[in-house]
Symmetry: C2
Subunit: 443 residues, 2 copies
């Protein structure tokens, strides 16, 4: 293949982030990290490549949407992680002596899934997770609700709703509605669609693809209808309704206590609800589950979701360790913040461009740039092809940099610089020893 | 395979970073990022998976140390990036309209190489690069020297040396020493070992494996011996020596001008040297090259290196675009900072643990934790299994958290809290409304 024929496009399902996207993206990630650290979560990083058996749980029929990786010397057995939860469970099992429990950790990183590329679906994306390992206390679940609330608030999102449910109640539904427990997973999967489909569509699917009777579907409807905007009302109604279901009973008591804990952790009741249709797809959840939606952008789905998963660590061959946590859908959240115009609209972090149009003043301008940097200003010394003041000013304007310093041999000879604010178009001449003050005045 | 048999170790050549390592590591990465931004470098992120042909340059015989990746649906053509320079060259060619030049970008990210795992060699590691694309000015190379100096200084490294050379001079060596230019790459590769081997060993290798005559080797020795601690002396000597070599002449003029530019950019002459043996392994360098060593840890090799590569973008089918840049060896640098005891010795970022031993005070303690968080303190509400004050205090001590808040039902009843400094063992009782002030006094 000749070099001219190389296809330099990014492969379908993959993406690049140019600075214009990266600057607000980094602001978002830094903000999330700040909130997580305020809650006492500690950073973790794990290998991007895992043993395939760790990812598949040793199941040879495991979901094929995994990226396997190999070199000529190591042809088998390695694959790219598809989430950050399985690696966390592995780490907890692998280093029991180094990890004190409860282990509150956060991790940010890329994960890979062999999805069919389509609009909004990518094969490589970033996750940002916060989990509490080794705590069975309900307060841990309440803390996750609180960390979601504080994160969304720190990002400036004014309207969002954290929908909370308990898998134990959903497990009790079989008993309550009178269908076989083997159908539970399928029933949950269908009920979970209630944020997108109406009851007619859902009940049709419950009958046709799950095989429930009309009577059973009616019971489910009564259950779903118990929901109200008031968390304690919802709890009271399902408590009465499901009095004969022991599984559900425990779940209902947890939800009731959760209301007071979430209050104590400073989350206003308007920002969360008990939503009896929320199931979260993943099979490993065992208790409280949550997801976060933006009422103005419902179609985007949940941007921050998770739940309690008390059996996952054990399934990797470790001991039984309770766990709860949530994951930010970084790309979804970024898309949402962008649509809501909540991202800082900075094309650059650079505050000053020192023009550099006169070879006789290049040393002089280098010194000026260094002085500004040493005083904390993000400073670019112009290094491109444009030879004229005008061409270099155009560059600074296009970059969105607010201030420029303009000096040629003339200024150098007199030991002065011109400092110009590109927004107000004000320009001052100051002694070079005063350049820091002059730039500071404009910023 | 039964679940009990899953091998949960991290694959050989790969690593996890627990919080104890991640906290100083993040401090290091944040510091580097801060310096890069001060120089006007902008963030970029690119896909971890690339088209294989982009990585290999379409060469079917390309180095086999590449991790290919596939799913059942996409069996061929994808591979993991092995550095951040090739993706940068791709991005510059792919989005010419979106990228204004000069393009100063930084990028931090994992890269993968199928190295044979051995001590200190890993298959997955992090790089942190700063490059200037689209500038042929020598000032750009000087800026890279300056960004290396400022980075090392910001990290608190007191002793380091940036070794600088010019590939153009090395290219002129063939002419000067009288060997065929086809031997140039091999000669450079051997001379590059002078930081590890003495002249006897190097001259032996030049004779035996490169096939130079004794006369040619003598000429090389004269060249290497021209080097002095004083940058301008070195330049003057090789200028005289290589007067008949046009390639070298251009390179020497560049080095001479570089001395004054690097001065202007605030780099003291003690922190860099002209080192005529530096070649840098990569074939794509075309001009100034640099590497950074720590005199107290020479064996660790270069921690921050790079050079000018004016032809790389073109080799990917783009136009000819000049470029220069350098890459931090993140893991090497981290190991060096660790050995030099320059890393912050914090096991945790958490400042306060709110004990949580009395179920009757759990709501009360949740409120206290929330107040502390809202006032900016990194606060952990104790969520583990220990039920006693003593057990929870031991946890806080082991974590290295300086302050704890201790409240049970008794304190709740009187609306007070106990605040204790675990270092001085001082404890005060304050009204709950004064908890923020009390914690602040101890921190």
């Amino acid at each position: 293949m000749s070099k001219k024929e190389i296809d330099i496009s990014v492969p379908s399902g993959f993406r690049d982030y140019l600075p214009e996207d990266m600057i607000p993206r980094q602001w978002m990630l830094d903000t999330i990290r700040g909130v997580f650290e305020k809650f006492g979560f500690q950073p973790l990083d794990t290998s991007g490549i895992e043993r395939e058996e760790v990812l598949t749980g040793g199941d040879p029929d495991f979901d094929k949407q995994i990226f396997r990786s190999y070199t000529k010397d190591r042809p088998y057995g390695l694959a790219l992680r598809f989430d950050l939860t399985v690696p966390l469970a592995r780490v907890v099992s692998l280093y029991p002596g180094d990890i004190q429990k409860p282990f509150k950790r956060y991790q940010m990183g890329k994960v890979w899934r062999g999805e069919k590329p389509q609009a909004g679906r990518f094969c490589e994306f970033m996750q940002f997770d916060a989990d509490i390992i080794g705590s069975s206390r309900l307060t841990s679940d309440a803390e996750i609700v609180s960390v979601i609330y504080e994160t969304m608030t720190a990002l400036g999102v004014g309207k969002f709703l954290i929908r909370v449910n308990n898998r134990k109640i959903l497990n009790g539904l079989a008993n309550f509605a009178g269908y076989d427990r083997s159908k539970s997973e399928n029933v949950m999967r269908v009920l979970d669609k209630l944020d997108k489909l109406d009851w007619t569509a859902v009940s049709k699917e419950l009958a046709e693809s799950v095989g429930l009777t009309q009577d059973q579907i009616e019971r489910l409807k009564t259950f779903i209808d118990s929901q109200s905007d008031n968390q304690l009302d919802t709890v009271a109604r399902i408590e009465e309704l499901m009095v004969d279901s022991p599984d559900a009973k425990e779940g209902i008591q947890e939800l009731k206590r959760l209301v007071y804990l979430v209050d104590a952790l400073g989350v206003p009741r308007d920002f969360w609800s008990i939503d009896l249709s929320v199931a979260r797809g993943l099979g490993y959840y065992t208790g409280i589950v949550f997801e976060t939606v933006l009422p103005d952008l419902l179609s985007i789905g949940s941007v921050f979701s998770g739940g309690r998963y008390d059996n996952l660590v054990q399934s990797l061959g470790g001991e039984q360790i309770p766990a709860t946590g949530a994951s930010v859908g970084v790309d979804r959240l970024f898309a949402a913040l962008s649509q809501l115009r909540l991202l800082p609209e900075k094309k650059t972090q650079t505050e000053v461009v020192v023009l550099n149009f006169d070879p006789d003043a290049e040393i002089y301008n280098s010194q000026v740039a260094t002085t500004l940097r040493q005083n904390g200003f993000c400073t670019e010394l112009y290094l491109g092809r444009e030879q004229t003041i005008k061409g270099q000013l155009t560059y600074a304007l296009k970059q969105g940099v607010p201030v420029v310093v303009i000096s040629g041999g003339n200024e150098r000879g007199r030991n002065v610089v011109q400092v110009k604010d590109l927004r107000s178009r004000t320009q001052v001449e100051v002694p070079v020893s005063k350049v820091v003050e002059a730039v500071r005045d404009f910023l």
